[in-house]
Symmetry: C2
Subunit: 721 residues, 2 copies
């Protein structure tokens, strides 16, 4: 991180080594060469040209194949050198073994981009993997950027450039729209495009990323985010390897106010096994993906409907400033349903301000409910003006951050009048307004068109509307959090400390581990190491009884299991006995263990938590906070943050831990030392980040959180070479 010396949490938005490349000519080429073109429509090489023509490509098409003088009425060129210039893109469909040469030919012919359909690379075993390496080198040397190999193609629906094969490309009626979709599964992507189109959402760009030997999924997401004709990026992801890039994209998405919708798959054991056989991706742990998603502008989705709804909801370019939702319906039942679904989304339905209630009361019919959700009853279905005036009052309520409307009279000319009136109301506010649809879409085209013209999102069901409102809220909250983080200077509580670490990988003893923590100012229990031959000479110890007595050895990690721990030792005589017992147990457990001595430590008290840190190979340093005991594991009561982070992030991390009221207070019990815990978390994050090159893992288990202070009672640090 370039600016890490300026403070923590103050990072560049996009990794400086990977700016969004310019792929304009890749997706909108002036001319396309098809290398391996064929006249046989049953072959993949035969499909590209008819698809390009049938779906409206307006540039020149140059078939390349020495076997034919012409294909489909087009002059066929014997090789890429003879293709007229300018040609911006080559579609490559030849046998895998000749693909690297085809890429070299692209370079020689001045063709900057390629899309490689050919399979038989990394997915096909060792020989294929070697071929893929050759392909990468060829592209680097020839200065050619390419998508694939082993992909099914790309679509630019806005400019009508369909470069692909298979049934997904056969539909020329697909509409363009504000979504760009980057997929690590081609077949699935194009079926999603079809279904989303059926629900009225169009895509400007769709890419099957294939093996990503050159242009990767993250390159494409970063590129599309910057395009003005893309409002939402969607991605099907089995695995990525550049966690820092993913995080940078998340920050950029928040800055731009454009969400990246993610279908993250391969998260379960069975899914992961299947994902690895599918693209051979090495998949980082799902918990770390979720940490990156929660930190940035990513929204995880599960189905096509979520994509359709998010595309609509974010098209309004409005974000709420808080969790408060007002709901107004003409059917009480759907109001209840929306209220429940909002609750599950973490939204609130605040009590309406007295002024708002009075204003609505003057407009509402008998039996209407004036609380939130507002039920205007079916009585008003014929009176859209009243409904719209109620909406205006709800939007003016200072406690309301967004509005959900469900109105029954959406059909025909009266529906259109309602929609136009609502558009005028929406115009007068900057808060998001979502319409929960009431009827099947094909019975109210006119009002629907009015809403779309005014970018008022409509969602097909009450539940889906609440989900969309929840997505807007979470995105907005993260955006505000990022802005706050960029605005403050998260000063380091401790400067980078030089640590003299032994070379090589290995586990440090508890005493050495304590010393590392102490170097970063993390409170540790007071300890003293006694050499084996000093036990009998011991007169007194500068520690307060009762004490814990443990073996200190880099070779005995599980001290309790080894029987090499004694607790609650209350005086010197018991201490000497315990020290001898522990030594004996350690020698029996592992006769060849290197033994530093016996570690005496003061006994700590408080609520136990686990603080851990790892250096993930894809995401880098990350800190984990978990409830102590077995609950971290059994109930997944943990939260994660990437290191380093500042004190505000540490506080958020504490509050993100399930069951955090154990620490932050519940049922009248006061909070424990949250500031001290947050400070310790920051210091752990700095320790693991400053020394990421050497520290593989830190495990503080337990850290005791007391009323006024925290103290690490047991620690383990694992080094890497």
């Amino acid at each position: 991180m370039r600016e890490s010396n300026q403070g923590i949490g103050h990072q560049t938005a996009v990794s400086p080594d990977a700016p969004a490349a310019d792929f304009e000519r890749l997706f909108n080429p002036r001319a396309i060469a098809v290398v391996g073109a064929s006249g046989d429509l049953q072959r993949i090489g035969g499909q590209s040209i008819p698809i390009l023509r049938d779906t409206g490509y307006l540039g020149a098409i140059y078939p390349v194949n020495p076997k034919y003088p012409e294909i489909s009425g087009l002059v066929c060129y014997p090789d890429l050198r003879s293709v007229p210039r300018p040609c911006d893109l080559a579609i490559i469909v030849v046998n895998a073994v000749v693909v690297p040469q085809a890429i070299r030919d692209c370079g020689a012919a001045g063709i900057p981009f390629a899309i490689i359909f050919s399979a038989g690379f990394r997915e096909a075993g060792d020989a294929g993997a070697a071929l893929e390496e050759e392909l990468k080198t060829a592209a680097r040397e020839a200065n050619v950027r390419f998508i694939g190999p082993n992909c099914i193609g790309t679509m630019n629906l806005k400019d009508r450039v369909y470069c692909g094969f298979g049934a997904g490309f056969a539909n020329s009626r697909l509409k363009a729209g504000p979504v760009a979709f980057v997929s690590q599964s081609g077949g699935f992507a194009f079926s999603v495009v079809g279904l989303a189109d059926y629900e009225g959402i169009g895509f400007n760009y769709v890419v099957s990323a294939g093996n990503e030997a050159n242009i990767g999924t993250l390159d494409l997401i970063a590129y599309f985010l910057e395009r003005d004709d893309v409002k939402v990026v969607a991605s099907y992801i089995e695995g990525i390897t550049d966690g820092a890039r993913l995080r940078a994209i998340g920050r950029r998405a928040l800055e731009l106010g454009k969400p990246v919708l993610v279908w993250k798959v391969g998260n379960s054991d069975i899914g992961r096994a299947a994902a690895e056989s599918h693209t051979a991706s090495m998949t980082a742990g799902y918990a770390l993906y979720r940490t990156a998603f929660d930190e940035g502008g990513f929204i995880e989705i599960e189905d096509v409907h979520d994509l359709v709804d998010a595309a609509r909801a974010f098209s309004s370019h409005r974000l709420p400033h808080g969790p408060g939702v007002a709901v107004v319906t003409t059917s009480g039942g759907s109001g209840v349903l929306i209220a429940d679904a909002c609750d599950r989304q973490g939204l609130e339905l605040p009590r309406l301000a007295p002024d708002t209630v009075r204003a609505i009361e003057a407009l509402a019919p008998k039996y209407a409910t004036l609380a939130n959700p507002v039920d205007l009853t079916a009585q008003v279905t014929a009176d859209h003006e009243r409904v719209n005036r109620v909406c205006a009052h709800l939007l003016a309520d200072p406690g309301i951050d967004q509005l959900i409307v469900r109105y029954g009279g959406v059909q025909g000319a009266r529906g259109a009048a309602w929609a136009n009136g609502l558009a005028a109301v929406v115009e007068g506010s900057d808060k998001p307004v979502l319409v929960a649809w009431c009827r099947v879409p094909d019975r109210a085209e006119v009002s629907m068109q009015v809403l779309e013209r005014h970018r008022i999102p409509w969602l097909l069901t009450p539940t889906r509307t609440a989900h969309a409102a929840g997505a807007l809220y979470r995105f907005a909250r993260r955006r505000e959090r990022l802005q706050a983080q960029l605005a403050r200077r998260g000063d380091r509580p401790v400067a980078p400390q030089p640590l003299e670490l032994a070379p090589g990988a290995g586990t440090l003893s508890e005493h050495e581990s304590h010393w590392l923590l102490a170097a970063y100012g993390i409170p540790v229990t007071r300890t003293q190491l006694i050499a084996p031959d000093a036990i009998d000479r011991l007169k007194r110890v500068p520690l307060a009884y009762p004490l814990a007595v443990k073996i200190d050895s880099p070779d005995i990690v599980h001290k309790t299991e080894a029987g090499a721990v004694r607790l609650s030792v209350r005086n010197l005589r018991a201490l000497k006995q315990a020290a001898h017992d522990v030594m004996g147990a350690a020698r029996r457990y592992k006769p060849d263990a290197r033994i530093n001595g016996v570690l005496l430590g003061e006994m700590a008290q408080g609520t136990e938590v686990i603080v851990g840190a790892v250096n993930d190979r894809f995401f880098g340093p990350v800190v984990m906070l978990g409830l102590g005991g077995v609950f971290t594991e059994l109930l997944q009561a943990v939260s994660y943050r990437f290191a380093p982070f500042d004190i505000d992030t540490a506080r958020a991390m504490i509050h993100a831990m399930p069951a955090h009221p154990v620490l932050t207070g519940y049922r009248g019990k006061p909070a424990l030392a949250i500031d001290a815990l947050a400070d310790a978390l920051v210091r752990v994050s700095l320790l693991v980040a400053d020394h990421a090159a050497r520290i593989a893992e830190i495990d503080i288990n337990p850290l005791f959180v007391g009323a006024d202070s925290v103290v690490a009672a047991d620690a383990l640090v694992v080094l890497r070479a």
Copy 2:
């Protein structure tokens, strides 16, 4: 429960006092009178007759209104007495105050059923509630059954009987189908019907239940379940009051193999507030609903899609015998997605048998994945016969309980050939086969029709398919559990015990509470009660030190808060001191408290759990098991079962508790005394059920679970009058 003396868990399927009534003539009447008919189409009274006629009702229609000689060309009758016989149904649209008389008139005219649209009853305050009571009495005396008041009507789409008003009834193109829908919100119900129709699922019956002053939601669900033309019942429920009836319906649904899909709303605080203002239902706790749903044939749904999918999935009348799913796709990406989604549903993708792998290998193309999920790749899209043969092999695998197929070549005549081939394969097996659709529905009508003809469920997306498979599995598992429960004779470990309980409501002291538990054989810590004046005379106690010393008073429930507890008391001298301390603390805390004395108890050890029981006013006795400490509350680590139950149910209850491995073993740690815990749970369930008339609550906190035994260390019983 009639048969409770025959054993526990062996219950009648349907409460004997509430058999499913015969509503045949209500939903399919030979003639209909419309009381309060009007010629004004803007009025509710003016809409019924045009709706009945436009939507194809074939019986006679008799307008009743003394003001008109005829309406819409029909003879109008001055009163119900003059209406020709037979007339099976009256639609009532008159002012609320005259509705009771209209019902009396129905009785006099021999009309057995009514549907009351009129509002102004319970939902309109005290006067309305009194009017509703009058209406109930009138119906009982006149022997008339009715739906409503304050409802928007009913639909029988099979026989074309639309009795209602509003936009929901204007669509005469809705198709009939296997679903019956009973809704506590009329407006919402009819919008659901429209959306489901749009996705191809029809309803034979739709009912807006209104205030349910006579025929209730549960009556209607019970009735529709028994009908042959109903395969799936759906219901929107804000609240019900007869929990036993709900449970009986759940058992009947399992017996019949028909699911009851439930939209349970009003579960969040905001939703509940809105629900209560909407239908004024008193809503039982959501946890108890979920307990009833999980026990019976209910499937909770969140959106219209879930309803559509469950209707399709259950239409095959096939249920899986276990969690094993085989997935076969022609796109690896969707295979991964389905695998992940199956995992979230609690399904498994077992390793395929060696024979199956060999058989598939002979059929699969190069690069196909022969593990589960099977990816046959897009290579086979033109070769449906191979795909179908692979399906046959997967269905024959003994580890596979159901099959999910996602195939790309569904279009046109080749798609139809695939579907017909698949139907033949499905015919040869009794396992469920679900098709995950690949294309937008309107591009493959023919293959879709073939699937529907053969009752092969198709679902629109991979995720929705996995959800449907999960619903089939959960339903099947509960059905098998019910069958096992009915087959075994859950003998009572303890006969009903006579308990001499003081009259009146109130909290028992700890000593009294212990005694009740002991009467049912629940292990309690050994205790001794010492009268206040006996403390100083104490010579020795027949208990093992260390002891807990607590005040024993029915007036001091929170003993720790009162400072009236001392733990780990190690000898007689300390004991006397502790007893005086505790007495003093209690007197300071509550000077007027009735004090029985000081309770001495042996200290117990083990893992803490909480065992509770309540007598819910709607659901009756229910037992709760929770993790001890703060986790029950903060992490909702609890499970519930209705009392009484047998030892198998108690074991299932333990395994249903989140974090149960703390008790049942994890990471090599052996299980604790699960059998003893299960036995204690059974005994608590018998205690609270046998004495449901008197016991309001039992709270055992903690119950210690050790390696070999359990013991209740603190108990509190609350009586009701």
